[in-house]
């Protein structure tokens, strides 16, 4: 019986929440989730502040109104042009996400088991287009999982690694050249890489075979990621 109204028995015999339910209050979000949400909120607030600072001050509204219409049209045209330069459309007409938007995925939880190594032990069976993921076992990192995501029509393959200290990094490869700005471009062991430091999170990105590679880790020095990236770049 799935009667939604309370029976007389239910009115007279109230069942309190089981004691165990109160224990749930002790469960808190993991650090990586806190970090990812915190960064997403900070990004959204930065964008909003930037928009707010662009708004014209209201003085002589009648006079400004005419100019505002012209400005809005000009702004829309410029924004469209800038957008098409910075964020070129993808194959299916969708906007290409930026590296900064995609990087938090490399810190998410794995949804698939760790891919096996190929004979020879240097590469994994997992690959993104022509790029096979490395094992990095010799560098002290072992694979712990993987995941696949589709972001605005673009495929993103990620393999997760952990070291003996339990630190975890994610190596994500997107099937397009994702736009990226800021950070610092460095040449590390002959490889040209870009470092995007975001507080406790380090992100290193580079391009290879028309794809974008992103290596991210929390609590892992950028130099460590650069060295690993230089093997893969």
């Amino acid at each position: 019986m799935m009667d939604d109204d309370m029976t007389p028995d239910e009115h007279t015999h109230h069942v309190d929440a089981p004691e165990a339910l109160r224990a749930l209050d002790e469960v808190v979000a993991p650090d990586r989730l806190r970090l990812a949400v915190g960064e997403a909120v900070a990004d959204a607030e930065r964008v909003r502040q930037r928009r707010r600072s662009r708004r014209p001050r209201r003085f002589g509204l009648a006079l400004v109104a005419g100019w505002a219409v012209v400005s809005v049209i000009a702004f829309v045209v410029l924004a469209f042009l800038a957008q098409s330069l910075i964020n070129p459309s993808g194959r299916d007409g969708t906007t290409v996400p930026g590296v900064r938007a995609v990087a938090p995925i490399a810190l998410r939880a794995a949804t698939a088991p760790a891919p096996a190594a190929r004979p020879g032990g240097e590469l994994l069976v997992a690959q993104a287009g022509p790029i096979a993921f490395p094992t990095w076992t010799r560098a002290g990192w072992h694979t712990v999982g993987a995941r696949s995501d589709t972001i605005r029509g673009h495929e993103l393959q990620t393999v997760f690694y952990a070291d003996a200290a339990g630190r975890r990094i994610g190596y994500a490869i997107a099937d397009a050249q994702l736009p990226v700005g800021g950070g610092q471009v460095v040449t590390w062991r002959g490889a040209r890489l870009r470092v995007l430091d975001r507080g406790a999170t380090s992100v290193v990105t580079w391009r290879r075979d028309g794809r974008t590679c992103i290596l991210a880790g929390r609590g892992v020095p950028a130099e460590r990621l650069l060295t690993l990236a230089s093997y893969a770049a």
């Binding site: 799935m2 009667d3 939604d4 109204d5 309370m6 029976t7 239910e10 109230h14 069942v15 309190d16 929440a17 089981p18 004691e19 165990a20 339910l21 224990a23 749930l24 002790e26 469960v27 808190v28 979000a29 993991p30 990586r32 989730l33 806190r34 990812a36 949400v37 915190g38 997403a40 909120v41 990004d43 959204a44 607030e45 909003r48 938090p104 998410r108 939880a109 794995a110 949804t111 698939a112 088991p113 760790a114 712990v144 999982g145 997760f160 952990a162 200290a165 339990g166 630190r167 975890r168």
Partner: protein
């Protein structure tokens, strides 16, 4: 009309994570669900329409859960083997229980939480949503009724039965054991 402060996502993160875990029954899926919800909420300014911040966010989380579940049900289902589950869950030092324990006190407490979330996730959908809204999210009966789209009396009824079922599921005899840990869950 009040706008949702994006910082509310950070303020209520722990509660949203618990709600997500209770809905999904899996820690990993809960993390994804919370991140997906945050991305949707932050995509544009949100107006609260007189709602409480938490009620708004729980509604957004529930809608995202229902939407992603519907999308997933159209895709071919992936079946994980026990080996795959273990390898996916053994992350960092101490594996899943070790990781959870570091956040909620002790391995025993982590295990209790996992069992409890599993018991909630196994409830029939109507009961689960009532219990999650009131006991996990901490919404009032009125807010829970608005969230689920039903009457307060119906929420009270569903909650009564949901609590009863959870208590039964956590009872030692239901789990085939009589340990002190099991008794502490009642």
């Amino acid at each position: 009309m009040t706008r949702l402060d994006p910082q509310a996502l950070v303020t209520h993160l722990d509660r949203l994570y618990r709600v997500a875990w209770a809905l999904c029954g899996s820690r990993e899926e809960a993390e994804d669900l919370v991140q997906e919800t945050a991305a949707r909420v932050l995509a544009k300014p949100r107006r609260l329409h007189g709602q409480d911040e938490l009620a708004y966010l729980v509604r957004a989380l529930r809608n995202t859960f229902l939407l992603t579940r519907r999308t997933r049900s159209r895709r071919p289902r992936e079946v994980a083997t026990l080996d795959q589950v273990e390898s996916a869950e053994v992350r960092g030092a101490g594996g899943v229980n070790g990781a959870a324990a570091s956040r909620i006190g002790s391995p025993a407490a982590a295990l209790e939480a996992s069992e409890l979330f599993a018991a909630i996730a196994a409830l029939p959908e109507d009961f689960r949503h009532a219990l999650v809204a009131v006991d996990v999210a901490g919404l009032s009966y009125k807010e829970a009724a608005e969230l689920v789209g039903t009457r307060e009396a119906t929420i009270a009824s569903r909650l009564f039965r949901a609590r009863e079922r959870v208590a039964q599921a956590l009872a030692p005899e239901a789990r085939g054991e009589g340990s002190a840990r099991a008794r502490s869950l009642r």
